[in-house]
């Protein structure tokens, strides 16, 4: 498979998945259980993305400067800092820690 084929196959696959999502009939989403799952789904995905991106490098778990950055971000969140401040605090903390160590 050449690079072009890989890029185009990936593009087609990813687009068809996106399209399949928005084409699913709305009646599939009726019912208490389905609604409940769909309400909690972004919570699960966001928590998982945050946790994995904090601790994973490929298929390894590592504790590095990212953990300190995210801890600082949690403090910023508790202080009700705006989105961009939370993100900047995390990046700056991790960068500073790497600079010092």
């Amino acid at each position: 498979m050449t690079n072009w084929v890989a890029v185009l196959v990936t593009a087609a696959g990813c687009y068809l998945l996106k399209l399949a999502g928005v084409f699913v009939p709305e009646r599939w989403l009726e019912g208490e259980r389905v609604t409940r799952v769909l309400t909690l789904l972004p919570v699960a995905l966001l928590a998982a993305l945050a946790a994995v991106q904090t601790f994973a490098t490929g298929d390894h778990l590592v504790i590095d400067a990212r953990v300190a950055g995210v801890a600082a971000a949690i403090v910023a969140l508790r202080l009700r800092a705006p989105f961009i401040v939370v993100v900047a605090v995390s990046a700056a903390t991790a960068a500073l820690l790497r600079l010092l160590t």
Binding site: T10, L17, K18, L19, R33, A44, A48, F83, I84
Partner: protein, 239 residues
Amino acid sequence: MTESWPEARARLVRTAVSIGVASGAYGISLGALGVAAGLSVTQTCAMSLLVFTGGSQFALVGVIGGGGAAASGAASAILLGVRNGVYGVRLAPLLRLRGPRRFVGAQLVIDESTAVGLSGETVGGGLGTRAGRLGFWATGLAVFVLWNLATLVGAIAGDAVGDPRTFGLDAAAPAAFLALLAPRLDNRPAWVIAVVSAVVAVSVVPLVPAGVPVLVAALVPVVAVLARRTRPASERETT
């Protein structure tokens, strides 16, 4: 929390731009990595325009760059793209896309646009649908423009761009996801789901290919809701 429409609109647009800028920083490293992996500048830019879902793109570039088969790179990338289909199902009743907008909107269904769209939906005072749609389109378009520009810049700059870790960008991403998660943690079941999902995802990291832990965590709310079903209604949420 009651917000007027101008306040909600301003906040959502600010969030969209912030996320676009943050993703742009990642786009630069993706562009550089793409070229380093052996893709041409054109191929790298075509990937950002056509694939347009960061996790999948990093997977494709990572496998090819690491000497893996292009086919297995494409397979991991598509596997990672499954979550966008799940997002689409969740977003469809909010967006109610019709005609050509459905095909354009579909391409913009990614982590960031979904998260901001769904967070907009929580705006009170009957503004939820309007705010949710604005959040989705503003974030999708901001990320699309900045992601593609950044990919081009990164690809041209090639390996002249340093390690994004130097600027702590790898710590910016999880912070962004936490900031998006925080407003949804306004009830106990959500907290439980968040903690369990995070623990499950991290636990399976060494066992499955990169990107899959997040998909495993997507099963957590399914299992939780099925388990709750067996209890009588009187025992459910008392808050």
